[in-house]
Amino acid sequence: MENIITKYCIIQNHQVIIDGKTKFKDNDNLEYGKLMKSIYKYYQIKYPKYFKMDNLCKIAFLGSEILIQDKDNIKNIDPAKVGVILQNTHSTIDTDTKYVHTIKDKSNYFPSPAVFVYTLPNVMIGEICIRHKFQGENACFITKDFNPDFITEHVNELLDEDKMDACITGYTDYIDGKYKAMMFLVEKNKENRKDNISFKPEIIKNLIK
């Protein structure tokens, strides 16, 4: 049976859209950090580690929290069978740039481990996994633009081969104050229902229009 999207979340243009409906809107044109914090508060997330995260991790983490907040069935799956597979465009250039500033001036040289650790894009996947103890398939793919064709094929194969029972997947990006998250909770289809949304590229392209 086809794998299905059981929830999806888009964070862009100062809005949080869940399953096609705008659920949160920032009317104050907040800058990125404040915007993310207000989303964090709006969804009543309580996770102090959030405040240590870099800009890319923040949006990926919030997207994943929103996706699975009310999904108790995911918490009951063997954590080794929950995967996190994301695409991203600008890697950690934002944090890389901040880190470079700490080593540029040799008279004021202070490389920071707290910054350096966020100079790998898959750390956002690690943050999501740590939060929920997910230990399944993991990969961070870099693409010029979100590529639903590749990610659906990859994720569907891992689900079809029983390597995962569920997956948090999609696209997250942050650079120079610009941000986007398009995240999907994908599960194996257990019953045929009319309102099931198949995890297929043409459907995703429609959902994110």
């Binding site: 890389d96 470079v100 693409t143 010029k144």
Partner: protein, 386 residues
């Protein structure tokens, strides 16, 4: 499902510009790690494994204009070019896909604020474009940035694309360079050893970084295979230990799951593994965690080594070049000693390879672990066994 053949390969590190040159050095126990005080990469004396820049320039000039390519691009293109020379697959076909892995790509451009290559050149997707255009591939490459397991993730992803027949060939190349960025970061973590690293040893005190590139060409078409008993990719897996973004799990559970899942993917149910090519970074935590994962998988009897004291931790290249070394261990029926290891230093009595040994090798398991909690494993063997 299709059989995934390994067709050809290349390794470029401090130890040479071909797999053969590199493996010959490993067999002799030669290390490419040297101390440097080059101010372009370090503020304090640093042990590091670097590729010979003059030779890189000379070799690259024979296939392209070196002024048009960054150091990392030159390494990766040269590596792919050498691997392609040894096989008859067509890199410009729409049946061949490039899979590239790198942790930091052209990060040296960012440090130097070098815009002479254009502002996009710092991005990993652009690295993919540069490689794709050089080899006239019509297919958008897959780029993986999964910390220190990137190379193994690239191999498993390439194999997955070939198994179902979506593509016929995958050119899997990983690379990373040494600039000031990575050494200073690991130094800030106090994770770099003041001496060449000592994997699994009682006196290990950190990693040694290295740069390089490695390429392995995979195919699901037997017609390209030249050997009688070729080596095939049998299975692989990627997991997360969900412990800490910069520290491995104390129990080794994530790496154990990767090993378990890779062997399940290979339909391997017995414990008859001839060799484990470990990650063995020589940090106190990593090697201890690895030993626990190997014991958990009931593989502590299997000869295991780490190659990090030969060419350092080459990050995005590591999973690929160390898999290639494993393939040569099968082809030449020998086990490479763990350079830097003298006194056992992990709590599990692993079967660490401490001397070069010639013995029949038919298969091996490659493992890797990295920041972000990532773990990966892959299992290779000759086609005509188990």
């Amino acid at each position: 499902m299709n059989t995934i053949y390994t067709l050809s390969d290349n390794i470029i590190t401090s130890l040479g510009f071909s797999s053969k040159e590199n493996f010959d050095a490993l067999k002799k126990g030669v290390s490419g790690i040297k101390e440097t005080s080059d101010p372009k990469i370090t503020q304090i004396p640093l042990n590091v494994s670097r590729v010979d820049s003059d030779r890189l320039n000379n070799e690259f000039c024979q296939i392209g204009n070196s002024a048009d390519y960054t150091r990392l691009e030159q390494l990766m293109i040269l590596s792919i070019h050498d691997a392609l020379k040894q096989t008859d697959i067509d890199a410009s076909s729409d049946e061949t896909i490039f899979i590239l892995s790198s942790t930091k790509g052209n990060v040296d451009l960012l440090e130097k604020n070098n815009l002479s290559f254009g502002k996009d050149r710092i991005h990993l997707w652009k690295l993919g474009e540069i490689v794709r255009i050089f080899f006239k591939s019509p297919i958008t490459p897959v780029i993986i940035s999964n910390a220190c397991v990137s190379g193994l993730t690239a191999i498993t992803t390439g194999a997955q694309l070939l198994r179902k027949g979506k593509y016929k060939n995958a050119i899997v190349c990983g690379g990373d360079i040494i600039s000031e960025f990575t050494p200073s970061g690991f130094q800030s973590f106090k994770a770099i050893s003041p001496q060449p690293c000592k994997p699994f040893d009682a006196n290990r005190d950190g990693i040694t970084l290295g740069e390089g590139a490695g390429t392995i060409i995979l195919s699901n078409e037997e017609k390209h295979v030249k050997e009688k008993n070729p080596i095939i990719f049998r299975g692989g897996a990627n997991t997360n230990d969900a412990n800490h973004i910069s520290g491995p799990s104390r129990t080794g559970d994530g790496l154990y799951y990767a090993i378990r899942n890779a062997l399940a993917d290979a339909n391997k149910t017995d414990k008859n593994i001839d060799y484990i090519s470990g990650h063995g970074t020589a940090t106190p935590y990593n090697d201890e965690m690895e030993s626990k994962a190997i014991a958990w998988a009931e593989l502590e009897h299997v000869p295991v080594n780490s190659l990090k004291a030969y060419w350092g931790h080459t990050l995005g290249a590591a999973g690929i070049i160390e898999s290639i070394a494993g393939i040569y261990s099968i082809k030449q029926n020998c086990l490479i000693k763990t350079l830097g290891y003298s006194e056992h230093g992990v709590s599990i009595p692993l079967n660490i390879i401490s001397e070069y040994k010639e013995t029949k090798i038919k298969n091996f398991l490659k493992t890797a672990s990295g920041f972000g909690g990532s773990n990966a494993a892959a299992y290779f063997s000759e086609v005509n066994i188990d």
